[in-house]
């Protein structure tokens, strides 16, 4: 008998087309862009010095981390009870909620952002409803600022938090919570001392993913935030497209890349379930 390996070759050849494509149009362009951050306009770290040294850019970094942090926090607070409910609800209701989550997730990003631009504008439905019930006299400024960005981003990130978290909660053995109840734990104690700690790895890994995705988001921040409230991804695009400053754009891209990969490394190191091999 011949072995599978000699009959089929090692199989690496099959992957070659994809490897070459990614090398030519992903790896090389990205490396090239990052290189330009230290070679343009001349060799040196002047772009990084400028990024770190200026208050304009400091504000961009502050905006980016603030929005990503708040979005992550709000998303976790909403997603946990929803994921918990979805994990234990009767199948029919769970599948309705599940379908709504998938619909929202797969609806065109621009269509969803457009909806929020219309809903949140000064004459929009939200402001008119708040006025009608007497909560406000003057319409609130909800677009062209970070409030609008945060609402729009939470809307987009929720499915990415709910779906994995639901999987984690489903895997928790109900017997553990029965044991807690038998030992005299109140529901609140069982929640804070048993259920949340057991779901914590899922919460942390989902939160990290939402945070990383939010850091690099481009479309929603630029449409709902306006130019005065720039975030990092917009800064990169602006430097390259409008200012044609490739050195600066490359430097900002490198910082974003560094933070992104760093956080993913944390995720892989601490939260990835170990495979039983």
């Amino acid at each position: 008998m011949f072995s599978a390996a000699t009959r089929r070759g090692s199989g690496l050849g099959f992957a070659m087309s994809a490897i070459l494509l990614l090398a030519a149009f992903f790896v090389i362009p990205v490396v090239f862009l990052l290189t330009r951050s230290v070679t343009e306009p001349q060799l040196g770290l002047q772009n990084y010095a400028a990024l770190v040294g200026s208050t304009t850019y400091a504000k961009v970094f502050f905006n980016t981390f603030l929005v990503a942090g708040v979005v992550t926090l709000v998303t976790v607070l909403i997603a946990f009870p929803v994921a918990w409910a979805l994990a234990i609800m009767p199948g029919r209701w769970a599948s309705v909620v599940f379908a709504i989550i998938l619909l929202s997730m797969w609806t065109n990003l621009l269509a969803r952002t457009y909806a929020w631009m219309v809903l949140l504008q000064q004459t929009g439905l939200i402001n008119r409803m708040l006025k009608a019930i007497g909560l406000i006299d003057q319409p609130l400024q909800l677009t062209n600022n970070l409030i609008g960005v945060t609402i729009g981003m939470v809307y987009i990130m929720l499915p990415f938090m709910i779906l994995p978290l639901m999987g984690v909660i489903k895997k928790i053995d109900p017997a553990i919570l029965q044991a807690a109840a038998l030992c005299g734990a109140t529901k609140w104690q069982a929640l804070t001392r048993v259920l949340v700690p057991l779901a914590a790895p899922g919460i942390a890994s989902g939160a990290l993913m939402v945070f990383v995705m939010s850091l690099g988001y481009y479309v929603t921040p630029s449409l709902l935030g306006g130019t005065a409230n720039m975030m990092l991804a917009e800064l990169i695009a602006q430097q390259v497209q409008s200012l044609v400053n490739w050195g600066m754009g490359g430097a900002a891209a490198f910082l974003l890349l560094l933070v992104t990969l760093g956080l993913y490394a944390v995720q892989l190191r601490f939260f990835e379930p170990k495979e039983g091999r």
Binding site: A18, L86, A87, Y114, A233
Partner: protein, 266 residues
């Protein structure tokens, strides 16, 4: 207790209420857009004073919208084919291959998915400036294949992993050549995975906006780019009409995917 819905007591209603509010939060903006697209208020007053189809007429009467939609469809189909073919080959290597470093290669294939799209977009934009590919169909296709491929690979490797290689071996023992076995035994066996990968790849390209903004030229743009540039000028209800059609397409594709899943489980 906490994981048994019927023993939750009053908490059951709290959880149900949170779920209901969140579902409305996710659903209402989408329904709102659909309603606005049929409303006759240019200023997007809700509820609209009357109903009309004029935004759809405006949409279909404008050759730029139609052109952008056709470009998107063309790019989407080409991306779908390339991404499924390359994804299948890469998955065969990852799942059936015996070479070292398969885990590393898999991680490498998935990187375009985890990096912020704006970095890929800016990097490709620079490369395409040199190659003269900005504003061309191949430029769009390459950019979209880069981001669609990871999803195709995840879907197809998933299907391949559940398909027993012994069946392929059996075909070879019965006299089929390795390629015959792959084409006539393995491919039909993982067809659901291939269909899902095709749907995902098409949708990713069809909806992709960040790469497309950088690749677009005044003469060649995709539907999302057209929506994007229009949105930056004003919030016309024509966008609501365009968005509604996009939502309709999404629902159709989701139903198609659900039917596929059902067919698989039977």
């Amino acid at each position: 207790m906490l994981l048994d819905f019927h023993k939750l007591g009053a908490w059951r209603w709290v959880l149900t209420a949170i779920c209901a509010v969140m579902s409305l939060f996710l659903l209402l903006p989408i329904l709102f857009i659909v309603a606005l697209s049929f409303g006759n208020s240019r200023w997007l007053i809700f509820p609209p004073p009357g109903w009309t189809l004029k935004w759809y007429e405006e949409l279909f009467a404008d050759p730029r919208w139609i052109g952008a939609a056709l470009t998107s469809a063309k790019i989407g189909v080409i991306v779908m084919v390339i991404s499924v073919v390359l994804g299948l080959l890469a998955s065969l290597a990852l799942v059936r291959g015996t070479f070292r470093g398969r885990a590393v290669l898999r991680a490498f294939f998935l990187t375009p998915m985890v990096l912020p799209v704006v970095i890929v977009a800016v990097a490709l934009y620079a490369a395409f400036l040199r190659l003269g590919l900005n504003g061309t169909l191949p430029g769009f296709v390459i950019a979209h294949v880069i981001v669609a491929l990871p999803f195709a690979i995840i879907t197809i490797t998933g299907a391949l992993e559940t398909f027993d290689p012994a069946i392929e071996d059996a075909a070879i023992l019965c006299g089929a050549s390795p390629w015959e076995a792959r084409l006539r035994v393995t491919l039909p066996g993982i067809r659901h995975g291939l269909f899902s990968a095709a749907i995902f790849s098409f949708l990713i390209s069809w909806d992709e906006v960040v790469l497309a903004i950088f690749m677009a030229s005044p003469t060649l743009q995709t539907l999302p780019v057209k929506v994007w540039t229009t949105l930056r000028q004003d919030l016309t209800p024509v966008i609501a009409a365009a968005s509604t059609l996009l939502v309709a397409l999404t629902v159709l594709l989701m139903i198609a995917a659900a039917v596929l899943r059902k067919g698989k489980s039977e």
